[in-house]
Symmetry: C2
């Protein structure tokens, strides 16, 4: 009997994509090393929507290891409130698929005109205004978190806060791409079941923490709401207990992402409690996926990639179950607003 082929899954393409991103590291390091040589005061990850979510992930990752001042700045908020912590000595890092996201373009224009901070720009497209405006630019598709984390890790390494840096990336270079496609394969039967069970939920709750939080927020908003037109709420694992959980009863659909970084106990706390009040919950734990060749101590750096790989398979099957093509938008970039 022939094995059933996974749809929308080009294994080689996925492997090449991750390896191509990892291969940007020498280029990234050259940029970061030059900035560190020159000196800088703080690091600002700037975005909006999904890229702001990635910025939150980079920030919590750095907070766990580093004394460098760093934060996630929402581009639209910067344009109104401003931020006096952004000076000529600040490093601003952005990422954009199209390279023309309005709020980010306007924010970077303002920063270049009024402040003169150093801007590092990642854009999927080959040509874009957000590349033109940057001091340092890298054009390469997808893998946003990987790009951000490579930048963050190099800054921390140069600051003497990441002893194992070379060793860790040696493992990633060798194993990560293959490991992530293996995660997708392992997740496939679960994803099929999950989509069949939840495609028609009136409302779905997603809970996460640490480097999974930005991904949880953006998965709920940028995938289920934006691309599947399904109602969701996302909440951090810690805040779950401060009000939100009062509306959870037996049939409320709740999905909890558990990673392996420092905030793992916060999500475990939700996972341990939820069976008492809910019979419609799902736990997605990065620990359940092998990641062959990766040392135990580096797994916490990869939890969000595991989650992303699992979600990739959920998306494929949600799109089928809902019969809702994920590329259509009702309003986004279709209306003036």
């Amino acid at each position: 009997m022939e094995e059933k082929k996974m749809i929308k899954f080009n294994e080689q393409e996925k492997i090449d994509s991750v390896n191509g991103a990892l291969a940007l590291r020498p280029q990234i390091n050259e940029i970061v090393d030059e900035i560190c040589e020159r000196g800088y005061s703080n690091i600002c990850w700037l975005g909006v929507g999904g890229t702001w979510a990635s910025a939150m992930q980079a920030t919590v990752h750095m907070k766990e290891m580093s004394a460098i001042e760093t934060w996630a700045e929402n581009a639209a908020e910067y344009l109104t409130t401003g931020n006096k912590r952004i000076t000529k000595d600040t490093v601003v890092i952005i990422s954009s698929v199209t390279g023309n996201t309005k709020e980010v373009v306007d924010a970077i224009k303002k920063i270049k005109a009024e402040v003169g901070a150093t801007v590092i720009s990642f854009v999927d497209a080959k040509e874009a205004i957000l590349l033109d405006l940057a001091d340092y630019k890298i054009s390469y598709p997808i893998n946003e978190q990987l790009k951000f984390f490579m930048v963050a890790d190099r800054f921390m390494f140069n600051n003497g806060e990441f002893e194992d840096y070379e060793d860790m990336y040696a493992e990633f270079d060798k194993y990560l791409a293959q490991d992530l496609v293996e995660v997708e394969k392992q997740a496939e039967p679960f994803a099929i079941e999950f989509a069949k069970k939840h495609w028609n939920d009136e409302m779905h709750y997603f809970v996460g923490a640490g480097n999974q939080w930005g991904a949880t927020y953006s998965y709920a908003m940028c995938y289920w709401e934006e691309q599947l037109w399904l109602k969701t709420k996302s909440i951090t694992s810690n805040e779950f207990f401060h009000g939100m959980f009062e509306i959870v009863t037996k049939e409320t659909p709740v999905t909890i992402y558990i990673g392996e970084d420092a905030q793992r106990p916060l999500s475990e706390r939700v996972a341990n409690f939820i069976p008492r009040i809910c019979a419609n919950y799902t736990i997605i734990d990065s620990k359940d996926y092998e990641l062959k060749g990766i040392s135990e101590k580096y797994r916490k750096h990869l939890s969000h990639h595991v989650m992303h790989a699992v979600n990739n398979r959920i998306d494929v099957h949600m799109e089928i179950e809902t019969r809702h093509p994920m590329e259509i938008r009702r309003y986004y970039r279709r209306l003036e607003y």
Copy 2:
């Protein structure tokens, strides 16, 4: 004909409460001045749930005016991820109703034991562990935002970033308490209508920005979810356009809070767009309330108080319409978790 009496509205008690909070200012200033005299590196507003939301409000308020490094720290996240920006030179500010919130107690214990930062503690209760643990303590009920903003404003004044400080507080001392009860009175007919219309919503969306955002987040979670057991989602005005709005259609209940601080345009953008896609929206604009005696330029400092006063009246009528007493909890502090 006798005027109908507003229920759960003791005007004199409310006036005394706000004036009592404003009267803490000399005591607050003595604390802040002493810290400024000694020197400090940064300011951390630490909380969880509703108090973390207030911390976000204090932070955005400061960001608009100040170059001081400041941020909102979630107590539960601090306990796991830590934060190397918190040092012995940091000022940590907390607020708690009971003074025994587990995550905050543990976080402050850790900070005092491992770091030795300066802790300013506001607690509603007269005696509490969070008062015992603090370097500076103030015991006074409710008015959390007012307490936080008085601290923030004094730090900015001492840093030469708030020229009008004395003039502004002279107006607040004279007019604010009365103005806020007038807001409640003005909001009453609206609140009655709103509660009648929305008490049975399957799901309600709250949108806000700037110093209204923390309040929007906590109103949705700590009031409707926790106290009324109604499903809500809150989203910032800017992020509304980055995914969430795709699920809004004609009958989706959406409430937009518009304040008068720098992020006002972000909420106006939602208000201007929403009629095209939704016929079940509500706009609550602080500008619609008079605030007699308060200069135009200081109104932006009060938007969140106006919103809070309006929400007070909504709560009263939601409690009646839902026949759901707001003091009952299903799980919060009733189960082990």
